[in-house]
């Protein structure tokens, strides 16, 4: 039981960390960024370089986040800006970008960079040994979701950002600099992706194709959650997809775990085309109208 809970928490942490940047960029802004995984890769690389330059692990992860944010802002200014409102075009352009970034990393840094040793040690329950770091990851993921939620709900910037996503013309008319809001919001999403990448750099090998593995999962998680309320959506999606994947992975293997997650995601999108959060929102309104 403890083993299962531990696995469940770990799977949820991974899903939440991969998707937390994308709920801002895709869920909230409605911008497709296929290079999301490559932003995570940027974060992982920067974390590794910083760590081996003698910087403490936690600060190294922050540096990873900042590096990804800088790269993200440049991408937004140079490329993605031109494709607002054209989903398929931005999908293709950013996919090209992800190819350039992963292949570029391969050319410059080679097939692998040294991963960072996992801190905090481990504990044992019965026969099994568990790593504290996995639990830290879960806590960090929860803290990042909570932090984002407070940012967008309680700060001046958050209100302006939500107004911009809701109605850019009106926000501009009321004196909000819409362009810089878009850039900043994109930067925040990239920062989250970079921190997630930095967190993963402590658990697995880091290579140029790290992003390819995470981008599809991130999109599935965000799409299942939906955009009606990105935070409720993310939590619901991580809880449900995480459970499916943990159960099927432990009963069969990793591949079947992935397939099961995809099948469930498809079923959810089939019956809730705008994601779980939209479905919840509608239920709530129906109850209120009664």
């Amino acid at each position: 039981m403890i083993g299962f809970l531990y696995q469940y928490a770990d799977t949820m942490a991974v899903l939440a960390l991969t998707a937390v940047g994308l709920i801002v960029i895709f869920g909230m802004m409605g911008v497709i960024n296929m290079a999301h995984g490559e932003l995570m890769m940027t974060g992982a690389y920067a974390t590794s370089f910083a760590y081996y330059a003698g910087i403490p692990t936690l600060i190294a992860i922050l540096i990873g986040g900042i590096a990804a944010a800088v790269v993200g802002i440049v991408i937004e200014r140079v490329v993605i800006r031109r494709f607002y409102g054209q989903l398929l075009a931005s999908l293709v352009a950013t996919w090209g970008l992800s190819l350039v970034m992963s292949q570029g990393a391969l050319l410059i840094f080679g097939p692998q960079v040294p991963s960072v040793p996992t801190p905090f040690g481990s504990f044992t329950v019965g026969e099994q040994s568990y790593s504290y770091y996995r639990i830290v990851m879960f806590v960090v993921a929860a803290a990042m979701i909570g932090g984002l939620w407070s940012l967008f709900n309680y700060t001046h910037f958050g209100v302006r950002a939500r107004a911009t996503m809701e109605n850019p013309e009106m926000a501009r008319a009321l004196g909000t600099n819409v362009r810089s809001i878009y850039t900043l919001t994109f930067g925040i999403g990239s920062l989250m992706a970079g921190i997630a990448g930095g967190m993963f750099a402590l658990t697995a090998t880091i290579g140029p194709f790290l992003g390819q593995y995470y981008t599809p999962q991130a999109f599935i998680t965000v799409v299942v959650g939906g955009a009606a309320d990105i935070f409720v959506g993310l939590v619901a999606s991580v809880l449900s997809l995480g459970a499916v994947r943990t159960i099927f992975t432990s009963q069969f293997n990793i591949l079947i775990g992935h397939v099961a997650m995809l099948v469930v995601a498809l079923a959810i999108i089939r019956f809730m085309p705008s994601g779980i959060s939209d479905w919840i929102e509608r239920r709530r309104q129906r109850v209120r109208n009664r």
Partner: protein, 368 residues
């Protein structure tokens, strides 16, 4: 048949082949097309054995490019996973071929299986996606996810348990050449009895087979996009709800064209595996999925001609770059990003339109 009826029939055929839905048309285009055909037909006489088999490989890519151009450029359905159908076709052909080549003495059933299995998979996926009215972006990403799952699955089939009849799936070594097993996917083999005809991948014959098929498929698709169905496709692309309100079942139309796109990819798959007598899970990799998107997007997806020419030019270019160093994919990715920024409808198409405008402007002057 009267002369008048024959003339009407001829005019109808010309109307389909030279209709307005394919931008590359008119007398000048067909003259160029004729020249290109003559050059392609005469080329083997001037090429080395290696150049011939290499060019065959280039041409094989034309089918998957046409398939993506058709569904994305004409029907507005973007799929990031067209390589799935190439790979499934290759594996289906290989597995059936390995098992039946000695019993039947030909690859007829392998070809049928290689073409139909991926089309059936496309029908299943398409049914789920289009009848659920998934958004275009979801369709695109879902296809990529499905493809990558195939890759992951096949990569873990290295163990001795993964035999289908005599065919060993071979994990990441794939079917054929690199696995320790001697049996590899057979070359295309036709006929019965003692002397079946084998189209060996390295041969000039195989080159002509692929070239002939490509020309037939290209002309057939020209006729398709200029037919009534072609008009409906474009209507779906431009305004799906309105097309639906006019009484068309857009889900069925999208499903049908998606299957046709998969079928075209399957032709590539069957030809590819019979050309090299091997296929590996890398056929499903991110690169093999992004390459068709690059060719079609950079060339111009709303033109079948641009799609084929773009695929051939870019495959040639990436091979040249690969000789120079490992940066081929970085260059191709950059070409994609830049072309999406400067010419969203495609570089080749934009160039062709500019040339056509120049031509149209100079013509009255030449007459006067």
């Amino acid at each position: 048949m009267t002369t008048a009826a024959r003339n009407a029939g001829a005019r109808r055929v010309i109307g389909l082949l030279d209709g307005p839905n394919e931008p590359a048309r008119g007398l000048v285009f067909w003259l160029l097309f004729g020249v290109a055909l003559i050059v392609a037909a005469a080329a083997p006489a001037f090429m080395s054995r290696f150049e011939i088999l290499n060019t065959s490989n280039f041409l094989i890519n034309g089918f998957v490019a046409l398939g993506l151009g058709l569904i994305w450029g004409f029907a507005g359905i973007l799929s990031l996973g067209q390589a799935a159908f190439v790979g499934i076709a290759g594996y289906a052909y290989g597995i059936i071929g390995i098992n039946l080549i000695e019993i039947h003495g030909n690859t007829d059933l392998a070809i049928v299986g290689g073409l139909l299995v991926p089309t059936a998979v496309a029908a299943m996926l398409g049914f789920i996606m289009f009848y659920a009215r998934l958004r275009g972006v979801y369709v695109a990403i879902l296809m990529l996810v499905v493809t990558l799952l195939f890759e992951t699955f096949l990569n873990q089939t290295a163990g001795p348990g993964w035999f289908i009849g005599d065919a060993h799936l071979g994990g990441n070594n794939g079917l054929g050449r690199f696995s320790g097993v001697i049996r590899k996917p057979p070359s295309l083999t036709f006929g019965y009895g003692e002397e079946p005809h084998v189209f060996e991948g390295k041969s000039t014959e195989f080159y002509y087979l692929v070239l002939g098929l490509l020309v037939i498929v290209y002309l057939g698709l020209r006729a398709l996009v200029n037919s009534r169905l072609g008009l409906v496709l474009i209507a779906v692309r431009e305004d799906a709800p309105r097309t639906e309100s006019l009484g068309y079942d857009i889900r069925l139309i999208q499903l049908a064209i998606f299957c046709l796109g998969a079928f075209l990819s399957a032709i590539s798959g069957v030809l590819y595996v019979s050309w090299g007598n091997f296929i590996t899970p890398a056929a499903f990799s991110v690169y093999n999925n992004i390459l068709p998107v690059i060719w079609v997007a950079v060339a111009g997806r709303t033109s079948l001609t641009a799609t084929v020419v773009g695929a051939l030019v870019l495959v040639w270019l990436s091979q040249r770059l690969a000789v120079e160093g490992d940066f081929a994919l970085v260059v191709l990715g950059s070409v994609l990003v830049v072309s999406m920024m400067v010419a969203p409808r495609g570089l080749l198409l934009a160039a062709g339109e500019a040339a056509a405008r120049l031509l149209a402007r100079s013509r009255p002057a030449a007459r006067g």
